[in-house]
């Protein structure tokens, strides 16, 4: 299938997940917030978060299990850069109260002004980072 078609199907599934979380549990399907909450929220408010996170890991494995073509290739970053990137992504999404899913999908769908601002800024910052890295490595 064409990458555009797969991206559309994948995006629709992310949307379906977000709608289910809101309709059933009244929660924003924001990965950084839910992940952070597995360790920082009160004991009784952790299990559903942990199960959502485990679900993402299982869900990511399922298409690959059915068709190895879905297994994403090895990231180009070194392991050291991956550690730095992970720290930066965790710190930034924690400080900014959300990531691509929480702000980019759920927040914009609610027309949240904060999420629209956050999404424009992390997109711009991501674009600037990739552009700079390309220029520096050229």
């Amino acid at each position: 299938m064409h990458p555009f078609v797969l991206a559309t199907i994948g995006g629709a599934l992310v949307g379906l997940s977000a709608v289910l979380m809101m309709t059933l549990n009244g929660r924003i399907a924001g990965v950084s917030g839910i992940l952070s909450g597995t360790l920082t929220q009160p004991q009784g408010d952790r299990l559903w978060r942990l199960l959502f996170v485990i679900g993402i890991v299982i869900g990511g494995a399922l298409p690959v299990w059915l068709d190895a073509g879905f297994r994403a290739p090895l990231p180009a970053a070194s392991v050291g850069l991956a550690v730095i990137g992970g720290l930066v992504v965790g710190f930034g999404t924690g400080l900014g109260s959300g990531c691509t899913s929480g702000h980019g999908i759920c927040g914009i769908s609610r027309l949240s002004k904060r999420s629209i601002f956050a999404t424009v800024i992390f997109m711009a910052s991501g674009i600037a980072t990739v552009t700079l890295m390309r220029l520096l490595s050229a």
Partner: protein, 138 residues
């Protein structure tokens, strides 16, 4: 019980969406952000489809007085644009551009067996916890 099961199922659907859409492919994500270079627009369809499904689905969800398995819709109440939001989003974008992972795809790709992914996720959790320590409890 219902709340936990629905979170697990929503997580699985989310993870499938990540793997199918191409979001777990860090090279593709970085090409999507490389708008001044060899831009690959495919992942715009993830956001587009996600936003359409979520915008419509949320409107239907909010017609109900409450979610099915919870007492209330737990929605963010803040509307102010503060420095933490903007700075956090900018920092997140840097990490996203550096490696090509945002939180959801990193979790979805955990079982692919790459050292980069296995290094990224714990570092991201450490970053989230660090930001949580700096942030006053809401």
């Amino acid at each position: 019980m219902a709340k936990n099961l629905s979170a697990l199922i929503a997580g699985i659907i989310f993870g499938i969406g990540m793997a199918v859409s191409g979001m777990t492919n860090t090279a593709r994500v970085r090409s999507f952000l490389d708008i001044f270079g060899a831009w690959d627009p495919a992942l715009a369809f993830v956001m587009g489809a996600g936003l359409i499904v979520t915008s419509i689905g949320y409107r239907l969800a909010f017609r109900r007085a409450a979610p099915l398995f919870a007492d209330v819709f737990s929605l963010p109440t803040r509307t102010d644009i503060d420095a933490r939001l903007l700075l956090g989003a900018a920092i997140f974008g840097i990490g996203w551009g550096l490696v090509g992972y945002c939180p959801g795809p990193a979790l979805a790709g955990l079982t692919y067996g790459y050292a980069q992914t296995l290094a990224f996720v714990p570092a991201m959790i450490a970053g989230l916890l660090l930001a949580h320590r700096l942030k006053p409890i809401r």
